[in-house]
Symmetry: C2
DNA sequence: TTGTAGGCGTTATCAC
DNA sequence: GTGATAACGCCTACAA
């Protein structure tokens, strides 16, 4: 048994066995330079004899100054971040765009529960996903590392490339539709306002302390049309939470809202279920507006009237920005738009 | 402006500025060794003056022989792999278990569409996720790299630590329940049989060439009770696919099956919808058995009779196996069991 | 076409 | 407590 049996073979071991120098062997594997056919074969033979699996990625990274890894920072536990269909679509787009470059995704949860060590994670660039103001700390850290930063729907941050959605404007357009139909009492079901994800009525105090950028932008857009609109914040973007929120808004004495602006389609579906359980027909007794426009497997509902966002394209745009920043460019930010898609869940209020 | 303005500062730059040696500065950051308080402060001061963000992760990895990264190899595009609630739960468990150790997850899709470069990805261990026989090639590669391998529900592979579920036995127990109730014509709706994910009737030929281990094990378990059972394979584990499969099985002339064994809850829900659309009541006209037992947000259905599997625990077990293998142990495999959970979707066949 | 030399940024070891 | 030295495994000028 040879003495190299137990330790990973190195390039020089292979070179030695093949009777060439390490640099020549290196050329065989990197392909960046001419090597005589005979030499190449001897090297490959030595490699397979030794069980050499190719250059050590870490050493190569150090030498080249590139890891081939892109970090994806999420504000949830892994599973939760990926439970949102919009994030999944985004991930598809991002993954596609990066896979071509041989870049891998390193998932970095940055939530109160478990937070990855952003200081120690090897990466060439990072995409900030469920962005809120709470991210400021992590951004600071990554910036010191001089890691190019791409943020999806985040408040403007110095030196961070924004991939934005017109959350406020899109919501405003949706709200205008409701107003044109004659609605006046409109309630909101929002995404979580911060990492505490408290499920509770909106209050000026809570809004003042909110950190979730997307949620706040959508609220802002709604208020441009219905300045006094209030409502409840959900604990997550799920049908179950939408249902709870819907009950809270609809199962009340006195005047109910005639329309609900939900900040995601899942929340909208939940609200609709709450309404129907209370004997309210959608859209005759209650109009419901959603947000996202992603296909929801297995969740039956009316055809939602919703603000459809280009989620896959968001991911692609982020991927392109990552690639640009890796070749030293400072990529321009991207602003994407959501589109009002007319379904069957809004109508004039009952006379 | 100093001449170090444009390049990432290094540990020795910091050391130089603080007037100490690199090794001493290193101790300040790694904390592994005694450093005089005054020295420490001077070093930290120099670091912040230079904008040093801590030791370069790649260099550290090279030196320490550890990257702090665990690869997760999936057989789908990212988005698709994470669309399955079972995988999400598993990821939660795995992430939890690894986060404590400061280990990050590097997602490596290994599908015909986009396959990560398993030879070049830095990692200390890998978890094989949507495992099928097609993985053999990638396993071979990773094994040559001497990377500890943990496989979730995979066919036995030399040197790979298995985290198994009793797919065959659990399905058999479910099938036995159906037989005891008096069912004789039982049809299967299976998970995809291979990476082609063809949606089509089961045939001996297709089964012979199938590579998806979990699907085949569950088929095997069903056949222990209903040796002649046949059915259709779905193109994915979704309600939509379950619906299509259900139509194919139920919307036929002649004797319909009186029971369906679906290989996931999503498929089961789809099959139930197909049945009801055809005017068949569940469970009176048709019994449906699911698999998984995960909570499905927003997907309303009967309370499923299903084989509930410990998905989070699967992830945790994999995480523990990873940790063990990183300290040089060869972890024992783990065998987990699914439990028959009686819901309201099975009943005796109509007389 | 091949080899030599040097360094990527750290940290472990061992002296002092 | 601190510092010199070497090594982790590879790649790339440059020289031969």
């Amino acid at each position: 048994m040879s003495d190299t049996a137990n330790t990973r073979p190195t390039l020089s071991a292979v070179a030695a066995r093949a009777g060439v120098s390490a640099s020549t062997a290196s050329l065989v594997f990197s392909g960046s330079g001419p090597v005589a056919e005979a030499t190449r074969e001897r090297v490959l033979e030595a490699a397979s004899a030794l069980g050499y699996a190719g250059p050590n990625p870490t050493a190569r990274s150090l030498r080249r100054g590139r890891t081939g890894i892109v970090g994806v920072v999420t504000e949830d536990r892994l599973g939760d971040a990926f439970r949102d269909p919009i994030n999944l679509a985004l991930l598809d787009g991002l993954g596609d765009e990066l896979a071509d470059e041989g870049l891998g995704l390193l998932v970095l949860p940055w939530s109160p529960g478990s937070r990855a060590d952003l200081a120690a994670a090897p990466m060439d660039a990072a995409v900030l996903l469920g962005c809120s103001a709470d991210l400021a700390g992590s951004v600071e850290l990554l910036r010191r590392r001089r890691i190019p930063l791409i943020a999806i729907e985040a408040p403007p941050l110095d030196g961070v490339v924004p991939i934005d959605l017109d959350n406020a404007d899109a919501t405003r357009r949706g709200a205008e539709l409701l107003r044109e139909l004659g609605h006046e009492r409109v309630a909101l079901v929002t995404l979580p306002l911060d990492i505490d994800r408290l499920r509770a009525p909106l209050t000026p105090e809570r809004e003042a302390e909110a950190t979730a950028y997307t949620a706040m932008e959508r609220i802002r857009g709604a208020r441009e049309v219905f300045p006094d609109a209030t409502g409840v914040s959900a604990g997550a973007s799920t049908v179950a939470e939408g249902y709870v929120a819907g009950r809270a808004l609809l199962d009340v004495p006195g005047d109910r809202p005639t329309a609900i602006i939900a900040q995601s389609d899942l929340l909208a579906v939940g609200a609709i279920r709450a309404a129907e359980e209370l004997g309210l027909a959608v859209p005759t007794d209650l109009s419901v507006l959603g947000f996202d426009g992603a296909r929801l497997d297995g969740i039956t509902s009316h055809v939602l009237t919703t603000l459809a966002q280009p989620a896959v394209e968001k991911g692609r745009a982020a991927g392109r920005a990552v690639r640009a920043s890796l070749v030293g460019e400072m990529p321009a930010g991207v602003a994407l738009g959501a589109e009002l898609r007319r379904g069957e869940t809004v109508a004039p209020p009952r006379a």
